[in-house]
């Protein structure tokens, strides 16, 4: 539980570039490093984060719950939002001054660029098991990629889950 708190505290501190850029950090923590979640459980959590209101980093709640139950959900949520809330609430003026500083903007841009590279790793980690089950399933990801311009993510996720569930029921195993 201590590891959960510390790791999400770090993630909340260095999550430059928005929640999606922080996804790789969460994936590395929850799937690759600790094995608290399987890649499909992580993907389900990302799906939930997409369809629930609020920042994507609320994924911490899901990871905490799956790993340690309700206490884990509370600890992870508190940890991931502690630093951003503390900075925003108690040191808004300091943060505003830092954001005007060139070095801080450059640091944020560099951290965000690195996080974008890591998002590619997360994509690879999530796609690999799909390919192992059935390479043709990646065609579904391409369909989602194209459709996402016009169809809300929530609807795409519901359609994908329903299709997968029906195929699972019909085929009696992985589609």
């Amino acid at each position: 539980m201590t590891e959960l708190f510390v790791r999400f505290l770090v993630i909340g501190t260095i999550a430059f570039g928005g929640g999606q850029a922080a996804l790789p950090l969460v994936e590395r923590l929850a799937v690759t490093d600790t094995g608290w979640l399987s890649s499909s459980q992580f993907a389900a959590g990302v799906g939930l984060a997409y369809i629930t209101p609020g920042p994507v980093l609320i994924l911490a709640t899901y990871v905490g719950y799956v790993a340690f139950g309700l206490p884990g959900a509370l600890v992870a949520t508190a940890a991931v939002f502690t630093v951003p809330i503390a900075l925003a609430a108690s040191a808004a003026a300091v943060v505003a001054r830092m954001e005007r500083a060139a070095w801080f903007r450059r640091f944020g841009a560099g951290a965000a660029a690195a996080a974008i590279g890591l998002l590619g790793v997360t994509l690879f980690v999530l796609a690999r098991p799909v390919v192992e089950v059935q390479p043709l399933l990646l065609f579904g990801a391409v369909v989602v990629f194209v459709a996402a311009r016009r169809v809300p993510p929530m609807l795409l996720l519901v359609i994908a889950a329903t299709t997968g569930g029906v195929l699972g029921a019909v085929l009696g195993a992985h589609p």
Partner: protein, 85 residues
């Protein structure tokens, strides 16, 4: 947060079986597509130059299993050494 807890509780309480496996696999396929969309958008926001090179280096380092937090912090530090964004 309550919605996430409810969703996690629902997912962890559902009985394992082909229907759940299929549904999770379907969600995983969709998430791969959605993350690809997000990645494309984020990459397009990064100007050509050192920052985009930094993204590629971070990608390589990530594939080599270097600590993700370390990659982000080092990326930020490297960028502070750049003369302009």
């Amino acid at each position: 947060m309550a919605l996430m807890v409810a969703g996690a509780a629902l997912l962890t309480s559902l009985p394992a079986g082909p229907v759940l496996d299929g549904a999770l696999l379907g969600v995983q396929v969709a998430v791969v597509g959605l993350l690809a969309v997000a990645l494309r958008r984020l990459v397009s926001d990064v100007p050509w130059g050192p920052l985009r090179l930094l993204s590629l280096v971070a990608l390589a380092a990530g594939l080599l299993a270097v600590n993700a937090a370390l990659i982000v912090v080092v990326g930020g530090l490297v960028a502070t050494g750049l003369r302009r964004d």
